[in-house]
């Protein structure tokens, strides 16, 4: 049997709770409740074991580079000393084995100069979750007392944009809400001068379709295409938009590492605060425990995880992982069937097109047609 490909990316749940109470949160507000039974923060002994396991995997597969994302809940709730301990042991364990890119995905409300000092010392880049301007953001991203989180996020972003911190600003992650005007959202995000932006479709399944789901009108494609048009036609790029860049690269014959589009095999795992190993977080929207593997970093190395049938099936790339109707679709190499969780139906599992199929088809077709025509014209004019 062929050895499974190695993992190169780990998402580490350093803190389970969050100081916000976003009503669209896939961790706390949807089908999965496993967070209730996990420690609120990752213990130092668990962090030590995790660093050791990642280094073991990097050495055994001669990986030149690995990636660790600190995630939650709100990861800064783990506190600076606990986070610094993890950063130190990761560097120690991986020294001489692999370069380790480390980032944190935060709501930015707790960022302060002490955190930024720590992140500068350890080279940790910071991605921030923000859904647009004040109105758009506060549609879902409210504090636990129901008050706006926007001013706290804005203060965190101002700190990130200071000259001494700017190199660590990874960008903004925005969940699409059809009620928010797309160009207003995009311009509000640009106000923070993000080096990169990504747009996420709200996690949904055929059992629980997204708000406004309408395959005949494709509202999510229309929303995203409005932003694409503004971004694509700009003479100079103020920011990168990951989703659009990935589709463009695929249309130009390139490869992308993405769980959202394309046919790449998944090469990341999630490690929870108790050391249990899970599949992509997004699978939590399918059912309670939908991301669980039953394995943990104390008893299992990552090669053992890779051999587990449920893991091998979930990370599978290419056409074989897709529904029959997807395999013969003309845009399958672009959309890749979308995020695996979005294909889920309780009766048929994952052997379905995405609940966003119609939107993905319109989005990828329009971007591909535009890119192919414009690239051909550009190459023709230069030859």
């Amino acid at each position: 049997m062929r050895d499974a490909n190695p993992f190169v990316e780990w998402v580490v749940k350093v803190a389970q709770p969050c100081n916000l109470a976003c009503d669209h949160c896939y961790v706390y507000e949807l089908q999965d409740h496993t967070w209730r039974y996990k420690p609120s923060v990752m213990a130092t002994g668990t962090a030590d074991q995790l660093a050791s396991r990642i280094a073991e995997h990097a050495r055994s597969h001669a990986l030149p580079r690995v990636r660790v994302t600190l995630h939650g809940g709100e990861p800064l709730l783990a506190g600076p000393s606990r986070i610094e301990h993890l950063l130190v042991v990761l560097r120690q364990e991986l020294r001489g084995a692999a370069v380790c890119d480390i980032s944190v995905q935060s709501n930015a409300t707790l960022l302060n100069p002490l955190w930024m000092d720590l992140f500068r010392r350890h080279g940790v880049s910071v991605g921030v979750s923000l859904d647009g301007g004040r109105d758009a953001n506060d549609r879902h991203r409210l504090a636990r007392n129901g008050r706006s989180s926007y001013d706290s996020v804005r203060r965190g972003l101002e700190l990130l944009r200071r000259p001494e911190n700017k190199a660590l600003f990874a960008g903004l992650l925005c969940t699409v809400d059809l009620a928010n005007p797309p160009l207003k959202v995009y311009e509000a995000l640009l106000d923070h001068e993000p080096p990169a932006v990504n747009f996420l479709l709200p996690h949904a399944t055929w059992e629980h379709p997204p708000p406004g789901h309408d395959p005949n009108r494709t509202p999510y494609a229309n929303w995203l295409l409005a932003v694409f048009e503004r971004w694509y036609t700009a003479p100079h790029q103020k920011t990168g938009i990951r989703l659009f860049e990935d589709i463009m690269d695929l249309a130009l014959g390139g490869d992308v590492r993405s769980a959202s589009v394309g046919l790449a095999e998944a090469d990341f795992l999630v490690v929870e605060s108790d050391g249990t190993i899970e599949l992509s977080d997004s699978l939590k929207v399918t059912r309670d425990g939908g991301a669980a593997t039953g394995l943990d970093i104390f008893a299992h190395d990552f090669d053992t995880v890779a051999r587990l049938p449920v893991v091998a099936e979930a990370r599978r790339g290419g056409l074989a992982a897709l529904a029959d109707v997807c395999r013969s679709c003309e845009v399958v190499r672009l959309c890749g069937g979308g995020i695996r969780a979005h294909r889920y139906h309780p009766r048929t599992g994952f052997a379905n097109p995405s609940v966003y199929c119609a939107d993905l088809r319109v989005l990828t077709t329009r971007i591909r047609d535009r890119v192919v025509a414009d690239a051909a014209a550009l190459l023709g004019s230069a030859s």
Partner: protein, 57 residues
């Protein structure tokens, strides 16, 4: 038998044969940047360096 993704009919621009365009000559537009990324990765055989996990940057 599994069908390789490369066997699927797909309309792409073949940048590998586009020697007429130098990377530095491409405009600083979304398209120019994409063409640079794809050609640079193809020429250098570099792994694409970005997070795969969709809920982080």
């Amino acid at each position: 038998m599994e069908t390789p993704a490369t066997d699927v009919e797909f309309d792409v621009v073949n940048l590998s044969g586009s020697a007429a365009v130098e990377l530095d000559d491409l405009p600083d537009s979304a398209l120019g940047r994409a063409m640079k990324r794809v050609r640079r990765d193809a020429l250098d055989h570099r792994a694409v360096n970005a997070a795969m996990f969709e809920s982080a940057l």
